[in-house]
Symmetry: C2
Subunit: 356 residues, 2 copies
């Protein structure tokens, strides 16, 4: 087992690609939503818990999320993480009223951007935006890319129960395509139209609901023809692809059958032959939350060795043992380097950020 040191002496840099932060100011904004009328039930479940719980895990998460300096760097050093690709944590701006969402996106980008400029060898940012206002979101993404060198857009899944395939969000997709940066669709709790049976038994969060919500979001972009409309779009999804790689055979079969039978107005023939073609050509996945060799290899073999990247999911899930277990995977040195380092360098265009 390699030691958990940064610097790549063991053959690769460890670039963690789905790492979270939030401005301290978001805490008050979130508290306001929680105390407001009819708050989103998934948000109440997630942030009602993390903001107010006194258990050790919640405290650690709160304190780590708002740090973009010494504490985060020390945690990275202790776990052998050379670089974090950092994004505004879920639900980010997307639970807020539009004006507040726009302001939080700007604030988040300024805080994260300054930290990235201060630690260019350790941090890379993803641009936050308020998709509730598409035109404004596109401008903010452009600002974050040009001013701070951000290398992706973070979308924390549904936007008040709507998805990126809705034309109102096309400006976000256009901006990502024009700037040639990927969109990371990060989980959120399912919307109020979908959450009830999961919420009733505590399955709405990372244990199950996150994957349902985010897998569906990623799949909608394909089946609705949205990727056909923005064919250069590159999407990243975590948690081993939110199970979509495991479902590929059935997705292909049932999409073909559904289209042929003309069952749904909303499901038309696509430009590419199969759903899995889109997954292999427009999607990259990370192993956030799944430090599991078997699933990683399954995805590498079936999605493509260039399509699977390392992620830690800091601070939600960051035991050093998981890094050690992944170091110890039975995998060629070349493939392991792709997983931990070079796929991320290519997808996020990290040349010149000291990570190459």
């Amino acid at each position: 087992m390699t030691e958990l040191k940064t610097g790549g002496q063991h053959g690769y840099l460890r670039i963690a690609t789905e790492e979270a932060f939030m401005p301290e100011e978001a805490i008050d904004l979130y508290a306001e939503v929680l105390d407001g009328p009819d708050p989103d039930p998934g948000f109440v479940s997630l942030w009602g818990f993390y903001l107010r719980s006194t258990d050790e895990r919640s405290r650690f998460i709160r304190e780590s999320l708002i740090d973009l300096g010494a504490r985060r760097l020390a945690d990275m050093d202790a776990r052998g993480i050379d670089r974090q690709i950092i994004a505004l944590t879920a639900p980010g701006t997307q639970i807020l009223r539009t004006d507040k969402a726009v302001a939080l996106a700007r604030l988040a980008n300024d805080q994260l951007g300054e930290a990235c400029l201060a630690h260019p060898d350790r941090f890379t940012g993803m641009a936050a935006c308020a998709p509730q206002d598409g035109a404004e979101a596109a401008k903010e993404i452009e600002r974050a890319v040009h001013k701070y060198g951000m290398r992706a857009v973070i979308i924390n899944s549904h936007i008040n129960g709507e998805y990126l395939d809705n034309p109102k969000f096309y400006p976000v997709l256009e901006a990502a395509e024009a700037l040639d940066i990927p969109i990371y669709i990060h989980p959120n709790t399912p919307s109020r139209d979908m959450i009830r049976p999961m919420l009733d038994v505590g399955l709405d969060g990372a244990i199950f609901g996150f994957g349902v919500e985010t897998g569906m979001h990623a799949l909608r972009l394909i089946t609705t023809g949205t990727i056909d409309r923005f064919p250069k779009l590159q999407i990243i999804i975590g948690h081993m692809g939110e199970a979509l790689p495991y479902w590929m055979y059935r997705l292909d079969y049932m999409h073909r059958a559904g289209v042929k039978a003309g069952r749904y107005e909303a499901m038309k023939p696509l430009k590419k032959e199969k759903i899995s073609d889109y997954l292999r050509e427009n999607y990259t996945i990370t192993n956030s939350g799944m430090a599991w060799e078997a699933a990683i290899k399954f995805a590498q073999e079936n999605l493509g060795i260039d399509r699977v990247m390392y992620a830690m999911d800091y601070p939600y899930q960051c035991p050093a043992e998981e890094v050690a277990a992944l170091d110890a995977m039975h995998m060629s040195a070349a493939d392991k380097k792709k997983f931990f380092q070079t796929n991320a360098e290519r997808v996020f265009k990290l040349d010149g950020q000291g990570a190459g």
Copy 2:
């Protein structure tokens, strides 16, 4: 590639374990529900389509479902299927008013039971029931087992938005445990509390919603402590385990974290250490809808070689090419025989039915 002949000359019998039928009488019952007030939206999507569509696939499915004789046997012969394990198709009784549900369960068991008695070397039945009336359901399961030798119970996932962990359905679980037969949880469209975002874009059916609904149902039985209450219960789920095997690492991690933090009233410590312990000891999966070597091997390796069975999903998905592809899997003869034959013989206790 072996020829698609029955009889096992190629080294194993092909026992297809998730095969569907329905009494012709159900068509009128379903039409009545579709024409009634405020029908379940998933039912409208599924059976509103299959009952009324004139496309080739729908016609084939309707005609094949109601046949328990020459047509079905010919289809089995053409595809090299030695035995079908047959169940009342989704949503079966579960969409009906209780009195009609009770009557349909009895009718379905009589029709299927007679067919099994007429073709003991080709057909094995699963018992239908109307879980809406737990006590009556338990009696009907017992009748079907004793009168017709049925070897499992079919539950077509949610029962008007409720799940088998609800104590009102305990009589069904008690009956299965007492009779020492497994419960097959077959997909249904998600309930009205969950379906909307999937339905809007045609993802509510087999392409995605089925897996969400059924995976959640199977998982609830574990996390709510229901399997702890009925520890001898054996559950079967199709479609490569509705993605739960692929999620095992995250299920274990996040269940442990959630229980430790005391986040949910409904999520308490369980008797076994991990969610995956339950999956490996109380669940068996089938590959219905997923004639895909990669996923089958992943499940065999991670769930257990004894825990993965062959299924065709007749008549919904039954191309002969899929049988041929599975015959050609790179797998030891012993493992292939477990997959196609002996796991099913053990799980359904087929000794003495001419399948051994």
